[in-house]
Symmetry: C2
Subunit: 236 residues, 2 copies
DNA sequence: TCTGGTGTTTGCGTTAGCGCAAAACGGAAC
DNA sequence: GTTCCGTTTTGCGCTAACGCAAACACCAGA
């Protein structure tokens, strides 16, 4: 069993208020694993045998309808937990998790959760905080889907990705994992066609530069304007 | 300060695993209050000084955009908690809570939460469960908004309301609090006009019976069918 | 009984965005 | 260098749903 370096994870919100010794004990229950790009970490509907902490890479959590349509629930960035089915009392994973880049994760058996929480109550409090924040974000997303049009939603989605997982360039911000038009469509509740049209438009205005699974925001400030306008002026 | 009867709330999920004595202690920290129909319990953006447990009545939690549009986050049924801003570490309420019917609530000062959690860790675990469930429901709603058309979403919304707050009739189920077309529109991401058209259509098919802020599902089973069909057959 | 206000219904023109289809593009593997 | 496959782009017709506007129903209070 590989030893995990506590100093790498000690500062994470999940472990706030946990002593170094306790952290050590918690980490002893975990194992680490590597998932190559495009591999599944767990599938929606499978027994929730583990929960995860992402160390490196990026993970997409997606939910599928009975008829096969998908939406992206969120992108997991390093330092975040995912697969917390046990926290909500679910027996199965409510979504599928795919590594969109080569990724390294810590894995705890779900069965260890009750014991850990009992010994280290701040874990529960911290997790509550995390889940609460996600709930808020979720509500914000619903609000946007209800009140904004597609272009604004795409703008918001890209800005969020840039903030969460953006790599600063000389001029602009690049989203530092592979992401397709289809992915963005599934984040914003539209189709890949519409996303493609929007990005083409932005590209011709010099707002973004994009290619195959790759997006660079060249003019973040002007994209913010797009995200916030209510429903008016077109192009000059 | 009015004494709250422990037997009324002991069975609630929030208090699972809490001993009667502990429950007594927890309730001593709370006061109760009555809110008349259509009164505000708290406003979005206000300091989160309290959190709440609904004893009687019904409460609508709604979120407003900077430009004034609203969505209904959820309807709170008796036995449920709301206003849990502290759980997610928020300083202000992220939504507005309105009593849609004369309502009675228990109120704890937000400042009491850390102490309560420390003394009774199962409160945190139970709340985590609740928030987790809401997060799931939220994701389901996003999925529906992304993949289904308006009529199906309205069908789902009404079925959920019927399940959560339905009063069984000889023939059908009545939603037992006042709810307008506008409210349903704000739950499903559409306009009151579209909701009105849909309900008119259903009414002429005998699926529902409705009036001013009042809806009765006469044929729940046939509404389930509407909610589940993917995108095909019209009326005969 | 009348009157005002809030919620509801309905008609009608408009359109944002979908759905289908076809072509172009770009990487990776050989 | 060539081939192959997944992604992206773009055109075109269509329609679900919106937005506006006007009429209507219902309840409460004077």
């Amino acid at each position: 069993m590989a030893k995990v370096d506590t100093s790498l994870v000690a500062h994470l919100p999940l472990f706030a208020g946990v002593t170094p010794e306790a952290l050590d004990e918690i980490l002893r229950e975990a194992r680490s694993a590597r998932y190559p790009r495009n591999s599944a970490i767990f599938e929606q509907g499978a027994d929730a045998q583990s929960f995860f902490l992402l160390l490196h890479g990026h993970v997409r959590a997606a939910k599928t309808t009975p008829t096969g349509e998908q939406i992206v629930v969120r992108y997991v960035a390093p330092g975040e937990t995912f697969g917390l089915a046990m926290a909500i009392g679910a027996v199965q994973y409510p979504a599928t998790a795919i590594a969109v880049d080569d990724s390294v994760v810590l894995i705890w058996p779900t069965s260890a959760w009750p014991r850990l929480v009992e010994r280290f109550p701040s874990l529960a409090a911290n997790t509550l905080q995390t889940v609460g924040t996600r709930l808020q974000e979720s509500h914000t997303r619903i609000l946007e889907m209800s009140t904004q049009q597609v272009e604004q939603r795409v703008a918001h989605a890209l800005l969020r990705l840039a903030k969460q997982s953006g790599r600063k360039l000389d001029h602009g911000i690049e989203i530092d994992f592979p992401i397709s038009r289809q992915d963005i469509a599934q984040m914003t509740g539209t189709t890949l066609h519409t996303v493609s049209r929007i990005l083409s438009g932005w590209e011709s205005q010099g707002l973004v530069e994009s290619g195959r699974q790759r997006i660079i925001l060249r003019e973040p400030h002007r994209i913010v304007v797009l995200a916030e306008r209510s429903a008016d002026s077109g192009a000059a």
